[in-house]
């Protein structure tokens, strides 16, 4: 196929911006989604996640800037690209009156890469009733049906807009297993938006955080987890927080003889830095953090500095 097989990034945006009247929904968004990653696009409701995704999927035109998918300008995405993209969104038009079986029969001819074996195994795995109409399905079943119809042709890129919202843990696990099926093939990238980081713990390995239309962070989980540490320092004496603190010490607080903070640039030598800042330091412990705890620290810091 074309040279885009070797592309490092499945999605790239540059200064992507979209306004609705005077409201700026997405502002100057520049990010790159590495191929072979499960990319979490995180942010509170109304942060601009869905607007961004709609621009990526050529449903909305950007007001400024641009986005490319597989190297193709998103405003030029056509059938050839969409045959390799799976897109599932809550506010998508679905053909409600069809049964699950009819939906499959309807989708199959559109995709040359349709995999009957995968479709069958997902149908069983998702426990979907083939003869039920989509409109009569529960929210979870409906999401499973939509994911199935987007996975069965083994897309090279899967874009999911808030797939887990309002679903119980069991359904979430089923959906995750389905999504992970895709990661067995040669070419895959998964882009998932969510307002709830808990939904993506363990799943995402790239994290972007968007707030009020602006990108706050875009980084690999490995990089985040190597630099973030939850630090506790036992301090002899009654000194309060050191007055001048490095900006990389997030959310510092002191209770009794314990100084606690999140170090956002932890590295070798950070202990010496702490001892220099807090001369009365006793035992220092620095623990790695989960995605959730890093996200919470970031969210609290942004809110405080706003």
């Amino acid at each position: 196929m074309s040279a885009d097989q070797d592309r490092i990034h499945s999605i790239e945006t540059e200064g992507l911006t979209r306004s609705f009247g005077r409201t700026e929904a997405v502002i100057d968004l520049t990010l790159a989604v590495p191929r072979g990653s499960i990319f979490a696009f995180l942010g509170p409701n109304g942060a601009g996640k869905t607007t961004t995704i709609k621009m990526l999927m050529n449903i909305l035109r950007p007001s400024a800037g641009k986005a490319t998918v597989f190297g193709v300008d998103s405003s030029r995405l056509g059938p050839e690209e969409f045959r390799q993209i799976g897109y599932v969104s809550e506010n998508q038009d679905t053909i409600d009156w069809m049964t699950v079986e009819q939906l499959i029969a309807y989708c199959k001819p559109m995709y040359p890469t349709w995999d009957d074996a995968l479709c069958g195994s997902l149908l069983r795995q998702f426990d979907l009733p083939p003869d039920q109409k989509i409109k009569n399905l529960s929210r979870g079943m409906r999401m499973k049906a939509m994911l199935l119809s987007s996975l069965a042709y083994r897309p090279r890129l899967l874009v999911l807009d808030e797939p887990f919202t309002g679903l119980d843990a069991l359904v979430r696990d089923e959906l995750v297993r389905g999504i992970l099926e895709l990661t067995q093939q040669e070419q895959w990238t998964v882009f998932i938006s969510s307002h709830d980081v808990d939904e993506l713990e363990g799943l995402a390995d790239w994290i972007a955080v968007v707030n009020k239309g602006r990108l706050q962070l875009s980084e690999s989980l490995a990089s985040l987890q190597s630099r973030f540490r939850s630090v506790q320092v036992v301090v002899e004496g009654d000194e309060g927080l050191p007055p001048a603190r490095p900006a990389e010490w997030m959310l510092p607080e002191k209770a009794g003889h314990t100084l606690r903070f999140v170090h956002s640039r932890y590295r070798e030598g950070s202990e010496d830095q702490i001892r220099a800042m807090v001369p009365q330091s006793g035992r220092i412990t620095a623990h790695p953090m989960s995605l959730r705890s890093i996200f919470v620290a970031l969210a609290r810091t942004y809110r405080i500095s706003e």
Binding site: G36, S37, I38, D173, V176, R177, L180, T183, Q184, E201, G202, L203, A204, D205, L221, A222, Q225, R283, H287, P288, M289, S290, L291, R292, S293
Partner: protein
């Protein structure tokens, strides 16, 4: 396919670290034994519902620490805990022991209490 070790994720701790620990615990308690085949990256990812890249990293860590071995044509098996890992194990022990002593002294426990607790766990794990 069921995984040969128990895994219950806890909040706050990186997934990679939790799984590596769970595997070590299963080896120590002989839930998985030298020569046993170890789940593939794919199985780990599917069963734990974790990112395949993370699963890959977990297997890599365990291989590096000598706990798993790659057998071409067979897959990954549980290693025989070679001598080379003794240093690593004693380092691990030193860290863990320090941590335990600190915690115990914080709680004003006696050495005997700590040894009792250790003995209990030792027997419980079937060492």
């Amino acid at each position: 396919m069921m995984l040969p070790f128990e895994m219950q994720f806890r909040a706050g701790i990186p997934v990679h670290q939790q799984v590596v620990y769970a595997v070590k615990k299963a080896i120590v308690s002989r839930q998985i034994q030298p020569g046993d085949s170890f789940p593939s990256v794919r199985q780990l990812s599917q069963e734990l519902k974790i990112n395949p890249n993370t699963a890959h990293k977990i297997v890599g860590t365990l291989i590096n620490e000598g706990l798993l071995e790659v057998r071409p044509g067979i897959g990954t098996i549980v290693g025989k805990a070679p001598a080379a890992t003794r240093i690593q194990r004693s380092m691990l022990l030193k860290q863990e022991a320090e941590h335990l002593v600190v915690e115990a002294r914080n709680l004003a426990l006696e050495l005997e209490d700590v040894l009792d607790a250790i003995r209990k766990h030792w027997n419980h794990l079937g060492g």
